[in-house]
């Protein structure tokens, strides 16, 4: 099994979720994150002190998938998340040794 992690722009989450559902993904886990990269931050001013905020809000998505679906799922995810503007984010996959569904104790594919 694989764990696909994606760091994307927050306002793309809806579309990504929809695309993954369409693709047949039954679940995913989301965390709020911030990213530093090519995308510039912005400036804020408080009583004359100007601050540059160089981390921008991102959303981090984790999806467990069976090995065979991994590549296709990555493509689906990337397509749904893309705006073409700097800061669209990254997607990566790592190998998973075991996955368990807490409720039932099922392992492997059945855990999804």
């Amino acid at each position: 099994m694989k764990l696909i992690t994606a760091v994307i722009k927050p306002h793309r989450l809806d579309d990504v979720k929809a695309a993954l559902q369409a693709f047949g993904v039954h679940g995913l886990t989301v965390t709020e994150a911030s990213g530093y990269g090519r995308q510039r931050g912005h400036t804020e001013v408080y009583r004359g002190a100007e601050y540059t905020v160089d981390l921008v809000p991102k959303v981090r998505i984790e999806v467990l998938v069976e090995d065979d679906d991994a590549d296709q799922l990555i493509d689906v995810l990337v397509k749904a998340a893309r705006t073409g503007k700097i800061g669209d984010g990254k997607v990566w996959s790592v190998p998973v040794e075991t996955a368990v569904r807490v409720r039932t104790g099922e392992r492997g594919p059945d855990a999804l």
Binding site: A49, T52, L55, T83
Partner: protein
Amino acid sequence: MPDGFSAGDTAFVLICAALVMVMTPGLAFFYGGMVRAKSTLNMLAMSFLSLGIVSVLWVLYGYSLSFGPDAGAGLIGNLDFLGMHGIGLNDLTGTIPVTAFSAFQLMFAIITPALISGAVADRAKFTAWGLFIALWVTVVYFPVAHWVFFFDGGNGGWLGDRNGVIDFAGGTAVHINAGVAGLALCLVLGKRVGFRKDPMRPHSLPLVMLGSGLLWFGWFGFNAGSALAANGVAAMALINTQVATAAALLGWLIYEKLRHGAFTTLGAASGAVAGLVAITPACGSVSPLGAVAIGLIAGAVCAAAISLKYRFGFDDSLDVVGVHAVGGAIGSLLVGLFATGTVGQSAKGLFYGGGLEQLGKQAMGVAVVGAYSFVLSWLLAKAIDSTVGFRVAEDVEVAGIDQAEHAESAYDFSALGAGPARITLAPAVAVVAESAPGTASRTADKNAEKTEVDV
């Protein structure tokens, strides 16, 4: 002080002026809590800007246009009191100093444009908004206040003094006026990005409740203070305000429970405001039982009216039309039914044997103010939009207007107080350095940067 002066009445009106002033910050919180966190500050700033601009214009010429001697036909005041010149320390309006009356009325002029801001949440250029406030109070509010609030023994405003339209504290001049202007404004600006599609739930309902609490509190000054004296009429206006608001709160909750299956706190706050709006024109002429009836009706009808924007597809973001235009009209018209003729004035409503006459006058008042305000507001908005531009860029709106228009974030609750978003204070040094290229440049390409922010 001269004869006829009353320290009691003066104390009352001065404190009421303070109460009405606090309604504008209250409104800011009521509105500010309803928008998303990324545009809260803009919502707050729009109301505070009204405090700034209108107060200054009032002293310069607003008071004179509204309450100066009639310039003719009850349409507008003359310029005798430019700069509030020539008003003696002890000159009286009724039993109180003219200055006290002027301060009290100023607070009405401040909150009226602030009310409009709810219709254009999240998307109005701050400079354009400031320009709109200045023009709108000048060509819309000041004249209308003269029509409705200026009494001079038959030589005053044409609606109130000359044609007997009853508007005790501003159902037409303040609420219909602002509500209809809000409609015009949101039509000119267009819908928010993602209207009816994206989630736009209130970011802080406690902030909304705070706003409604301050509005309710300040409104006693607004309504009871409009008696301009601490007397039986003021007392009746105050208790009517309380019970109508309470009844409207219940009316809205009941409607919501039946229609949507839940009693929401936002519904309670909204119902209260609807009740305050509806009783505003009526509090000086109905009985407490009449006030309860007006409140119940206003609460339920406004709760239903706010869905109009979905049916007709205009983005009156915070329901200025549904609450203020509709609520103000309900209250103004119901005066024609519930006026007892024994409270603030003698005209009787339909239910008290007065026939349809007063109802007709009320209808005229509603129609005239509504029509005038809509046309003028629409023209002003169009003029501003086609010159300086009224709306921010789409990506600015998506990123949150606070960043681009105010260069601030409303909240930062992170452990370190800088949020996951890290900050460098270099510019603070630049601020003090004589030559501040860093600052300059940074400020320069700010908008460029903005277009990328958080999108």
